[in-house]
């Protein structure tokens, strides 16, 4: 498969995503500079983590105006697979590709730690290799992951099964103690209504090699590859 990883000024997980896709999963990957206009013929686009534009003003707020984002929007409109990780998720929110907005963590502190997630929807191109309700461990590292959406919007998300991951504890309970940032309804990741654009705060690329402490995240990339292979 062919992946594109978009590099914004200030992205810093671009090389990590490329490493996993290229060296662990042996896929074709190109780094696409934010000022490019085209995604070439990529089949899946990843907006990586980092601090695009220093996260100045609001996280993701300035990156969403990069020229490449028009191409990402088109690609998504045509049903292309888009994955936004951490800062990538924040950019997707600011660009309006996903609903809601990010606030600072409830603690007001950056938090970097292993995190358990409950897979809420395993019928997406990115999660079909997980069992429904399965607990996976994927690290988080962010200062603004406190997802906000108004009650009506939230109701919509729930109804459409757009909530893909929730923060959970070891017993699988999406409790407020398990919520690392104050995110509404313990939301860690959501997908758009069409089911092709996923945004998530945790970093699956950081849990894709056993030597780094776990490989639960690898399945997410493998799922996308399998989905694309099947779709042809």
């Amino acid at each position: 498969m062919k992946f594109a990883v978009v590099v914004f000024p200030g992205s810093n997980c671009d090389q990590d995503c490329i490493h996993i896709l290229r060296n662990v999963l042996h896929q074709e990957v190109t780094a696409v500079w934010h000022q490019d206009a085209s995604l070439d013929d990529a089949q899946c686009v990843i907006l990586p983590g980092g601090f695009s534009y220093g996260d100045y003003l609001r996280t993701g707020a300035l990156a969403c105006f990069s020229p490449i984002m028009a191409a990402v929007q088109d690609f998504a409109d045509q049903g292309g697979l888009v994955l936004g990780i951490c800062n990538g998720f924040q950019i997707l929110l600011e660009a309006g590709l996903l609903p809601g907005a990010m606030l600072r963590n409830r603690s007001l502190r950056f938090v970097c730690k292993p995190q358990l997630l409950r897979v809420e929807n395993n019928k997406t191109p990115f999660t079909h290799l997980y069992g429904e309700g399965r607990l996976i461990q994927v690290p988080i590292a962010h200062g603004e992951g406190n997802y906000f959406l108004d009650p009506e919007g939230l109701e919509q998300l729930r109804k459409n099964k757009q909530i893909v991951f929730r923060y959970a504890d070891a017993t699988g309970n999406a409790s407020s103690e398990a919520n690392p940032n104050g995110s509404v309804d313990n939301i860690a990741g959501i997908i758009n209504a069409a089911g092709n654009v996923l945004g998530m705060m945790p970093h699956p690329e950081r849990s894709s090699e056993a030597v780094l402490g776990g490989a639960d995240g690898l399945l997410l990339f493998q799922a996308a590859i399998a989905y694309l292979a099947e779709r042809g």
Partner: protein, 84 residues
Amino acid sequence: MWKAEIHVTLKDAVLDPQGKAVRSVLGSLGYSAVEKVRIGKYLEMVLNVDSRAEAERQLDEICHRVLANPVIEQYDYQLVEVPR
């Protein structure tokens, strides 16, 4: 030349963790009279345009597109003419 003073604040329905934290710090320092704290952004911007109307047109666009996220924030601004 016009100088804009822009306020971007969180909508009332949105919890303001920073404001809450400041209030609690103030409380622990003994400022118990402080009852409510909300924290937003304050921007100063100089626009090199000739008319107030043009300044307003651009500012509305800029605030709406860039400076405030309508999902969580609201904005307002004041304009004053400044010498070039």
